[in-house]
Symmetry: C2
Subunit: 339 residues, 2 copies
Amino acid sequence: MNLLLIGFGAVGQGFAEILHEKSARLQERGFAPRIIGVITATRGGLYRRDGLDIPALLAAAAAGSFAKYPQQAGLRRDVSAQGMIADGAADALLELSPTNLETAQPALDSCLAALEGGLHLVLANKGPVALAYPQLQRAAQARGRQLRFEATVMAGTPVLSLAQEALAGCAIVSARGILNGTTNYMLTRMEAGMSYEEALAQAQALGYAEADPAGDVEGWDAAGKALILAQALFGAPLRLTDLAVSGITQISAADIAEAKARGERIKLIAELSAAGGEVRARRLPISDPLAGVSGASNALTLETDLLGAVTIVGAGAGGRETGTALLNDLLAIARAENR
Amino acid sequence: MNLLLIGFGAVGQGFAEILHEKSARLQERGFAPRIIGVITATRGGLYRRDGLDIPALLAAAAAGSFAKYPQQAGLRRDVSAQGMIADGAADALLELSPTNLETAQPALDSCLAALEGGLHLVLANKGPVALAYPQLQRAAQARGRQLRFEATVMAGTPVLSLAQEALAGCAIVSARGILNGTTNYMLTRMEAGMSYEEALAQAQALGYAEADPAGDVEGWDAAGKALILAQALFGAPLRLTDLAVSGITQISAADIAEAKARGERIKLIAELSAAGGEVRARRLPISDPLAGVSGASNALTLETDLLGAVTIVGAGAGGRETGTALLNDLLAIARAENR
């Protein structure tokens, strides 16, 4: 399976590392993925039909420019996303560039070009799924290609596979959870005594915060994930304006201490049904299962028709953790193709 | 998809109810399952190539005998499991008879006959999977049939799909959880002030307890599930003798009150790795995520190589809840066949 990557930040690098580490084991299972092209906004691009060398790719990325990637036979450096897709050697596009929740561009155009060119599409970028899921889905179905986006919600914790595949016989009635790892980490640190500013600085130092921290702390990252869940769980094409969104910027260390004194915790909670939803900081009694979810973990409770509540808790941030979701999505595509 | 059922207790009846309620919606999705045969130890058997009527089947089961099922063209009442399989009209066998952890019989023979006859096999009965998984797996692979058993662990909560499919790219290093709904319900009631005997009587009245309550309270039900998890998560063919097993029969209301006074809860915990494991009552600090799992819920934390801990919490008992797992397994088989 030949892969094109658009974007090569923490997620793309985490994914490449995993692919390299697991390569022998994956081959034993009959799965041999190969990165043949990478395009970035700041480091340049690389394309080679016979595959790129992952350690060299990671070294060039760490050095800040793909100009540091060594010359190889068949290597091209002057490539565009559309050019790589049109070349016809790739089987799947991984869209890993930063999320734009206003227009989803320029990622949306590449995604549509990939599907129309007969590639499978796997996303970590939330924009195209949050804003244009029906259009992507139609393009995928028209060419019999798969559209997967596990990495867009709860990093590698497989909540979409859980809802859409493992629970395929159940209807999901509503969902409620902690969808942003950065703010949950910050709230956990503030409970331990840090100020808002200290907690944010530490979240950024650990690489949890998104490119623009405002997206995390004002609730927009969680809201984008809520839109994706609305599509995936309920088939509901909600818009950002269907959600009431606020974040944790108004929460002080004093609020958290006061909640703690009452046996409560403050969490940034997304609540969602087919009709709409909201993202806001809430006080939860300590007995609420979501109150116990700490650090950069995320959690989602799915309310189902047949089973009642099913809750999944796991990593909610991190480059390798999100890269894991990309690998799991590719394995699902390979399983479907081998049948 | 034509189905044979062996066993028609709470799980079989819950499954049949769900199939009937969801029939229109499943057909819209291109999935039209039909129960064509049912065999029980105490109510008799029914077989009809054109399908059995589910409401009439449920009414006859409630009345205690399939002799009450009305006469229909093509209906046979004198059928054996082997005879139904040999007739060649069925696509899948659902083995739902009571678990026997000593020999797995008579279920194991029917399971092997079904796979050798080219049927898919779906189990709620733990015996054949716990004791003879490698043999079943070889028989399934030899005929290109699927072997699925989500219903054997955590009722309908899809922990096996989670580990084997949604997390296919991860290695599972160890697992730790609450696998028996009956005892977790009893411990929760005892925490609220009931005696052991009262809590057991209430668990039985609610239909949570297995046919033999000793299997629950002495830890054997959880141990059987641990053997299944060892196979499914680690590919490790452990035996019951590889596990240290004890239950909750030694736990008194006083023990529970004492734990509560120290900010702890007593839970029946299964711990498992490829090398072995144990099932025993443990005191957990209230901050342990498993301490918050109450009533008939179950939970399992999977320790993974790439993602750290992933925890799933959901229903751990109940006929309809377990029947839901059978439906989800059949949908997974149908997805694989349609690709």
